[in-house]
């Protein structure tokens, strides 16, 4: 440490001491002035208490009441207006909120309802398609059955017709040629037939005899 530094430290210590002394002096002078002022205020308070009846008399109080009433009414009116505005705003917001909520709820319900209708429609379509398929199958089965019955009946009618036609032709032939063939012309045929059945006749005659 050199000389300059030492001087600087000493200077600083001296300055700090001087400053402390100044502050102490200053504080002592201020406290004496406050004490004086407190004394005057007490006197003033006493004077005020003694004259308070003169300053705040009944008219002054009534005036203060009126003013207070007017001020209160004004405050009340302003607050009522604010409250009304708030109420209107709240009502509007509430309406908007309710409208939005109801709309959202309704939309959700409508969506559900629409989904239900769509599901029911799908079910109905599936049921109708199933019914149509069943009806088609039944119709196809009935068509086959009817076709079979038709063919069977047709065959029966044709068979009956053919048999009846054969009977008609036989009958016609018998009627047509029955009186036209002389027995002499049939004799060879009859004898041939008898010859063919000779054994049967002989056997029957012998057993019968």
């Amino acid at each position: 440490m050199n000389t300059g530094g030492l001087i600087l430290i000493i200077g600083s210590l001296a300055a700090a001491t001087a400053a402390f002394i100044w502050v102490a002096l200053r504080l002592s002078s201020t406290s004496s002035r406050v004490i004086k002022k407190d004394m005057s205020d007490i006197e003033l308070d006493k004077a005020a208490v003694s004259d308070v009846e003169h300053i705040f008399n009944e008219e002054f109080r009534e005036e203060l009441r009126n003013r207070g009433r007017l001020h209160f009414e004004k405050v009340i009116g302003e607050n009522a207006m604010f409250l009304q505005q708030d109420l209107r705003q709240t009502t509007t917001q509430l309406n908007d909120y309710m409208k939005a909520e109801i709309t959202r709820t309704l939309q959700e319900e409508f969506k559900k309802y629409e989904q239900s209708i769509t599901d029911a429609k799908q079910l109905a379509i599936a049921s109708i398609e199933k019914t149509i398929t069943t009806i088609d199958q039944q119709r196809e089965f009935l068509q086959k059955q009817l076709a079979g019955q038709y063919e069977e009946q047709k065959d029966q009618i044709i068979a009956r017709f053919e048999k009846d036609m054969a009977n008609i032709i036989n009958h016609y032939v018998l009627r047509a040629i029955g009186n036209q063939i002389d027995l002499s012309d049939q004799l060879d045929y009859i004898l041939a037939e008898l010859e063919a059945n000779k054994k049967a006749i002989v056997d029957d005659i012998r057993s019968g005899t």
Partner: protein
């Protein structure tokens, strides 16, 4: 005695008629024995069948014993001869009947008797009925047998 029947004797009716004729002839000879002298006699007319029968069997109808023999033979024939019933569509001519009887007696039995009937519905041919059987040899039966073929023809025509 195996009686030889002529073809003119066809049925039991003919045999019965012959027996009646024989009876009448016997009665005539009895009556001639009881007749008075000088009285005219009228012999009964015998049929050709009876004479043919007597001739074929070498019997004398003037002989009472032969008549009795013939009557007994006819009586036996009536009870024992095989009877065949034949139906035709129309009344057969004697000639046709003669051929049929001839065939029956030469092929079936020599004493076969025939009963002829009529069935116009058979059109042609005949129906033979023996004691236990019926043989339908008619055109009706033939057409009936051929009916499936006729149905087949009709079915072929109907179905193109």
């Amino acid at each position: 005695m195996d009686l030889k029947l002529p073809n003119s004797v066809v049925s039991q009716v003919d045999v019965a008629r012959l027996m009646r004729e024989l009876g009448a002839l016997g009665d005539f000879f009895i009556s001639t024995q009881a007749r008075q002298a000088g009285a005219s006699v009228q012999p009964p007319r015998s049929s050709g069948a009876l004479e043919q029968l007597a001739s074929e069997n070498k019997l004398n109808l003037l002989d009472g014993q032969h008549r009795q023999q013939l009557n007994d033979a006819l009586n036996t024939l009536l009870g024992q001869a095989p009877l065949i019933h034949i139906s035709f569509a129309a009344e057969p001519s004697p000639k046709a009947l003669d051929r049929i009887v001839s065939w029956l007696r030469s092929n079936i039995h020599p004493q076969t008797l025939l009963q002829v009937g009529l069935q116009p519905t058979i059109a042609a041919g005949c129906v033979v009925r023996t004691p236990n059987r019926v043989l339908d040899l008619s055109m009706r039966a033939y057409l009936k047998q051929q009916e499936p073929y006729l149905v087949e023809l009709i079915a072929g025509a109907a179905r193109g």
